[in-house]
Each structure stands twice: as C-alpha cells, then as structure tokens.
C-alpha cells in the first residue's frame, strides 16, 4: 500500500512513531461522534482539504516537514500523503486529502475525500481556500459544512486576489461563516501557526463549532426531516442521516445506490416515492447553497474602489453598448476595408503588374518552342487565372490579420454579442445567429453549425440563410474589384454592399423566424474574455494557417477551374468568340441585360464562382487576357460596365449561389436534394433580383 516512505528527519524535535491513520474506508464500530469530544487528546487526526493548486501542499509541507509518508489510497491510484506534527504536546496526524472542487463523488479524488471525512471522521478539517476564486472555494466549504466535521478555514492566495482588485476581509468572512477564518501566506509560512491553533481549539472543544450553514426552502424542510427519520432507521453504510437525506434529495447517485442496497425493500420503496415526488428539490438545495455563497461574498469581498474599474469594464461600456457598440463594430469593419485598400491594393497591383507579368514573360521564353495550345493553357489559362487570384493574397492576409487581432484582443466575442442584439431587434432567433456568425469565415462551418438547432425545420431554414453571410472569399473578390470600380468611393461602396447583404440576410431571417420559430427564444451564455494585448505569434499563426489553406485551394480547385475555363473558351475552334463558353454566356445574355451585364464574359465569371468564389476573378483573368491581369484587369472590367452595372455585378457576386463546397455540405446536412435545390434556387432569385433592382434603379438615377 505504501510505496514510498520519505525520510523521517527531525524538523520537529520528536521521534516519529508510525501514527498514520488506519485509512480504512469502511467504518468499524465505535467511531461515533462522542469519541471526538476529548478535552486533552493524546492524538488528533486532522484532514487537509481544498481545491487543486490552492496551496494545500505548501501548508502540508510547512507543518509536517520531512515527517511525511507518501503512498496510495487503498486500492486506488490516487496519492495519499500523511504526516505528523506536534501541537500543545499532542501528536497530530495530518492527512492531505486529494484536491477537489466539490464532494459530489464525480471523480475518484472526490470519492476518496468524501469517504475519508465521513467514515474516518477526523477530529477537525482544515480547508485551504483561494481568495482569488472565493465563490468556487466556498462551494466546497458549503459541502464540507454539510458533513459533521468541525472546520477551520485558511484563506490563502490573498495576494493573487489583490492583483485582481479583490479584497477579502477574513474577519468579516469569519463572522459570516461562524467558523475560524485565518489569513495565510502559505509560501511564506505566515498564518500557519494560527491556523493550527484554531484547528486544535476546535478539536478539543467541538461544541464551539456552530457554523452558519446553507439553508433550503421551508417547503422542503419537512421532507428533509422525514427522510432523516427514515434513514435513521436503517444502517445505510453509516452515512450521517442528515447528510445522506440532503444528498438523496440532490440526486447523488452513489448515496442513492448505497441506500437502495442497504435499506430494507419496503423502506426504500417509501424513500423512493418521496424522492420521485420531490424531484425539484435539487434546484432548491443548489439555490440555497448559491444564495449562501452570494451572501458570504457580498459580506466579505469589498467591491473594487470607486473609479478603479477594470480596463475591460471600461472598454465594454462602449463596446457592448447597444448603439455605440454597433457603431464601433461598423467602424472596425470600415477600418478593415480602408486598411485593405491602403496597404493591400497597391501590393496586389505590384504583384499582378510586376510579378505576374514577369512570370508570363518567363513562361513565354520557356514555352517558346512548345505547341500553341500548351503555352495558351499555361499562360492564358493557368497563370492568368491562378496568378490573378494569387494577386489578392495581400487582401486576404490583411483580412485574416484583422480578424486574428480582433479575436486575440478579445473583441470578436463582443462582436457576436453586439450583432446578436441587433439581430434580436430584427426578430432573428438567437440560436440561428451563432452558426451564421461563423459564416463570415466560410459558409461551410455555418451550415454545419446549424446542428445546434434541435428543431429540424428551424435547422433547415437556418441552412437556407447561411450562404447569405458574406464569406472571406467573397469579401476578397469585392475588395479586389471595388477600388477600380468606384475609385475614391470604394470604401463607401464596399460598406454599402456589405450592409445590403446583411439587410437581405436580416429580412430573410425575419421571414424565416416568423415561419419557423413562432417567437420561441433561446439564449446563450457567453463568457466575454478579458481584453489583452494581442500575441504576435497567435495572430501570425492564424494568418499563416489561413493563407496556406488559401494557397492550397489556389493550387487545386482554382487551378483546375481555370484550366476548364480556358479549355471551354478555346473549343471547338480555338477562337474565344465562337467557343462553347461564349455560347453559354450569350445564351444567358438576356438575363444579364436586365442587370446591365451585356458582356458574356462577366456572366461566365459569375457562373464559375460556383467552383470557388475566387474563381470570379480567375475567370475574368482568363477571359480578359493575361497581360492585363491584376488591378489592370479590374480597370478593364470596369471599362465595359456602367457604374450601375458595376454595383449590380458586385451585388450579384456577393449574393450568388453558394460555392460547390457549401452546396455539398448543405446536401450532406439536409440529406435532401429538395432542400439543396431550394437553397440554390432561393439564392439565385435573391441575387438576380438584387442585381436587376440595383441596375434598374441606377438607370433611373442616370448612373
């Protein structure tokens, strides 16, 4: 049982007999409470309890020095540490119980601690509590008080609490709890002598132990008493009846099992029927406990000094304000685009102008002798398509950096919080919102995220909404074309288009909410993290992961799609104007005309976004010719469209049918072609409808 025995050195000036408790986990006769009332005991057993990492071991080591025995609990893998020290000429055996947060028998540690306190009945227990997490510590104290073991408290880690502006007044806590509370600085051996003296005092005068315990509602009091009487009549593994009754009402599985096993069947029947009738007692008992913790905390913890409100609170007053918060969010959105246009657009121009042109020149030299179709495919297909998409790598990098920084600072959770309020005002269900929020990164997880909705119909309708959230790929397409399309008003036009997108999302959401949710509301609890300075490594890693993932996509899906577009634009005759692609584009021209998109190449570009949203740009690159790639490409496209048609084109691009990955996910999640078709159909109608309305309105205003 005992694996290691440390040196029994002489830190205390006594020889050390083997005074370890017998550590039996089943009781034997004669260990009744009365035996503990000893005015001058020869030997005492003291249990040391507390949460993990609360300084319990430090207290244990300070008290027992080298007089420790380390082993295992009988039949368990959990470490058992006992030690001895002397106080007032009395040998004290100190048992360091495993660190636990409660005594609910959820884990082996909790079961060991609880069984020791119940069956071994130490003369007194010392609870080391964490002043910086007082609520959690008091939860354990509440459970300890339900047992009949006298308790003293060592209030440790006050220094950590002070750093967080939490001031715990030990004497007030002592008065409120009705038990000794001794402030400790365990690491400096401060307060430990007083703690031991208080424990000794209680051990010799157990009658002084009159704690203020948590209470339960009056309506459940008679039931509790009835259960106590019934348990008193049975042996039930010698659980203290009062405690066992409480645990039965709480639904403690181990106590329930033990009582069922040891009580006569008729008695158990009666107990069981009482428990069934009072299933709601759990919330009352828990409520009483929390109410008690709340009272203790209110009494003993002084609020942060006036004016000394934490940085997070100060920032949150604005950041989570219903109006200012939303304005801040929009401001940050605008800033992100402004930053993109200021930094990424010139970089992107340089990439497409210098690097891409250089690459084309190189390819022309290398492929000089190759058949025309090969150089055509490589230069006009792959380089023009993939190369153009790669040119917006800086745009994406800035997006990811902004998102990464906002997340790491702790702002993004506030963004979700603010947006939810906004959506709430518009009647959109809170639970739908969460998956939709994921859509800003990519629509695929948004569709998968709808799994949190239990209701099938609600879930499917939320899936319909998911592709309406502008994903990063679509925002990048927007950011790539907007500067050439709108010049100085690019930022305003971008925000307008994103806002239009969100309004359409909200309106569709309201309709769906009315149809599917019938006003039922569910909330989320969200722990808003503290603000902190972003970590360069975290953000860098995030940008790198996402950029690498984009590069993989460019090297596979976009490459393939560019090749397909080039081939389709060169068969059958090798002339773009008589190609299959041109025929497809021209067939759709009547629809395009309504949106001012009379050039078939623009229509084909929109169609190709089905493979991946970035393909809009890749296809334009292929069809408009490689040498004019990059920002010049955007200018070239702008030249053939009126301002109204440009707006319409971007609106359609933002709202168009989801990419193949999203459609596949929708099919997988709904397991229904009907719903998948409904999603594609809905977005087709919305996007084309928006395009037509924008272009026709612009025409009326003469744009």
């Amino acid at each position: 049982m005992i694996e290691r025995v440390s040196s029994t050195g002489a830190l205390t000036a006594q020889t050390v007999p083997d005074t370890r408790p017998s550590l039996r986990l089943v009781p034997d006769a004669g260990t009744d409470g009365d035996s503990r009332v000893a005015s001058h005991p020869d030997a005492l057993t003291v249990a040391l309890v507390g949460q993990p990492n609360v300084g319990k071991s430090t207290v244990f080591n300070m008290l027992t020095g080298l007089n420790q025995h380390v082993g295992n609990w009988p039949g368990k893998t959990v470490e058992l540490k006992t030690g001895v020290f002397e106080v007032e000429a009395t040998n004290v055996t100190l048992v360091d119980l495993p660190g636990t947060y409660s005594l609910t028998a959820n884990s082996e540690e909790e079961r060991i601690a609880r069984d020791f306190l119940i069956f071994e009945r130490p003369h007194v227990a010392i609870a080391v509590v964490n002043a910086a997490a007082l609520e959690r510590s008091l939860y354990l104290v509440a459970e300890l008080l339900a047992l009949d073991v006298p308790l003293v408290i060592g209030l440790n880690m006050s220094d950590v609490a002070e750093q967080h502006d939490i001031h715990v007044e030990a004497h007030v806590l002592q008065a409120a709890l009705g038990i000794p509370v001794i402030p400790l600085v365990a690491t400096r051996n401060e307060g430990i002598r007083e703690l031991v003296r208080a424990a000794y005092g209680l051990a010799v005068q157990p009658a002084d132990f009159r704690p203020n315990r948590p209470t339960i509602r009056a309506e459940h009091q008679p039931i509790l008493e009835q259960l106590v009487d019934m348990l008193g009549a049975c042996t039930c593994r010698r659980y203290p009846p009062g405690w066992a009754a409480l645990k039965l009402l709480e639904g403690d599985s181990e106590v329930t099992r033990e009582v069922q096993a040891s009580a006569p069947p008729a008695l158990w029947e009666d107990i069981h029927s009482i428990l069934l009738k009072h299933e709601d007692a759990y919330l009352d008992i828990a409520g009483g406990r929390y109410e008690w913790i709340g009272r203790m905390v209110r009494a003993a913890v002084t609020a942060p000094r006036a004016g000394a409100i934490t940085r997070t609170d100060r920032i949150d007053r604005v950041a989570t304000h219903p109006v200012f918060g939303l304005l801040l969010l929009l401001g940050i959105f605008g800033l992100a685009f402004g930053l993109t246009y200021a930094i990424a657009t010139p970089l992107s121009e340089w990439l497409s102008g210098v690097v891409l042109a250089g690459l084309i020149g190189l390819a022309e030299t290398v492929l000089g002798g190759a058949p025309a179709w090969i150089s055509g495919l490589v230069i006009d297909g792959l380089i023009a398509g993939v190369g153009t998409v790669l040119a917006f790598l800086p745009i994406l990098a800035i997006f990811f950096a902004v998102l990464g920084i906002l997340e790491d600072v702790g702002y993004l959770a506030r963004g979700a919080y603010i947006m939810d309020r906004f959506m709430h005002l518009m009647g959109l269900h809170g639970k739908s919102f969460l998956p939709l929020f994921l859509g800003f990164g990519c629509n695929v997880p948004a569709v998968m995220g709808t799994r949190i909705l239990e209701d099938r119909r609600a879930r499917f309708l939320t899936i319909l909404l998911a592709p309406l959230v502008p994903c990063t790929a679509r925002l990048a397409v927007l950011a790539f074309l907007a500067p050439a399309f709108f010049g100085a008003s690019a930022a305003a036009a971008t925000i307008g288009l994103v806002a239009l997108n969100l309004v359409i999302l909200a309106v569709t959401g309201i309709v769906i909410n009315r149809v599917a949710f019938k006003g039922e509301q569910t909330a989320f609890i969200m722990e808003l993290p503290l603000y902190h300075v972003p970590n360069a490594r975290t953000v860098g890693l995030y940008v790198w992961n996402n950029t690498a993932s984009f590069l993989r996509k460019a090297g596979t899906l976009i490459l393939l799609a560019s090749a397909v577009v080039w081939i389709l634009s060169n068969v059958p005759g090798g002339d773009v104007e008589t190609s299959i692609l041109a025929a497809i584009g021209r067939a759709l021209a009547p629809v395009g005309e309504l949106m001012g998109l009379s050039d078939w190449r623009v229509i084909v570009a929109l169609l190709s976004s089905f493979f991946a949203k970035e393909n809009t740009i890749a296809t334009l690159g292929v069809l408009f010719g490689a040498p004019a790639a990059g920002s010049a490409l955007a200018t070239q496209v702008a030249a053939i469209l009126t301002p109204g048609a440009r707006l319409a084109f971007l609106a359609v691009a933002m709202l168009f049918i989801p990419c193949v990955a999203t459609v596949a996910t929708i099919k997988q999640e709904t397991a229904s072609w009907k719903w998948t078709a409904a999603s594609v159909g809905l977005l087709l109608i919305i996007s084309l409808g928006a395009g037509v309305v924008i272009y026709q309105s612009a025409r009326i205003f003469g744009m």
Binding site: I293, V297, D420, L434
Partner: protein
C-alpha cells in the same frame, strides 16, 4: 432556516429562456451576484443537464479531415469556446414550468 425568496439557479435558467446572447458579466449584474458565482452555477447546471456546452460540438467532428478546416475557423470561434452554453430541453422546461 430562512426561506429563500428567490432561487438563483432557477432565475438564471429563466433569464436564459428569454433569449439572446448573455454574457456572464451581464447575467451577474441582473441576478445581483458576482460573475464567479454565475460561472459556478452555469457549470453545475450543465452537469445537471439543464445547460449544454456548445464547445467543440457545433462542427468539430465533421471538420476532421477537411483540408480547409483551418480556414473555416476564427482562432477560437464562439462555437468552439468552452465558455458558450445554452439551455437543454429539460432546462427550458424547468425555467418555464415554474416561472
């Protein structure tokens, strides 16, 4: 024994049944207790099956093996954060049944 006028865990469930995203700080304010106590109650209510954590559950498993999984997520997107909880059907029943 003093009768409790209010029951904190029950009030917490009822607040949630009203809808929306609630921060722990915000719940603490409206219940008149500390944020630490709200977190403690949330954990116990989750153990009891009245609340359920959405952490890792929203799409965690289905993203396994997907090459663009990294691109899908914000560094710690809300649905993966262990701090996000919602009512279970039994939690909702409790909240509405006694409100």
């Amino acid at each position: 024994m003093v009768e409790q006028e209010t029951n904190l865990p029950l009030r917490l469930l009822q607040q949630l049944a009203r809808g929306g995203i609630r921060s722990t700080a915000d719940l603490a304010r409206s219940l008149g207790v500390s944020e630490g106590l709200v977190k403690l109650m949330v954990e116990e209510l989750a153990r009891r099956g009245y609340l359920v954590a959405l952490g890792g559950g929203a799409c965690g498993a289905s993203c396994a093996g997907c090459s663009s999984a990294a691109a899908c997520h914000l560094p710690s997107d809300p649905s993966r954060s262990p701090g996000i909880m919602t009512l279970t059907p039994s939690g909702r029943e409790k909240a509405l049944g006694r409100s």
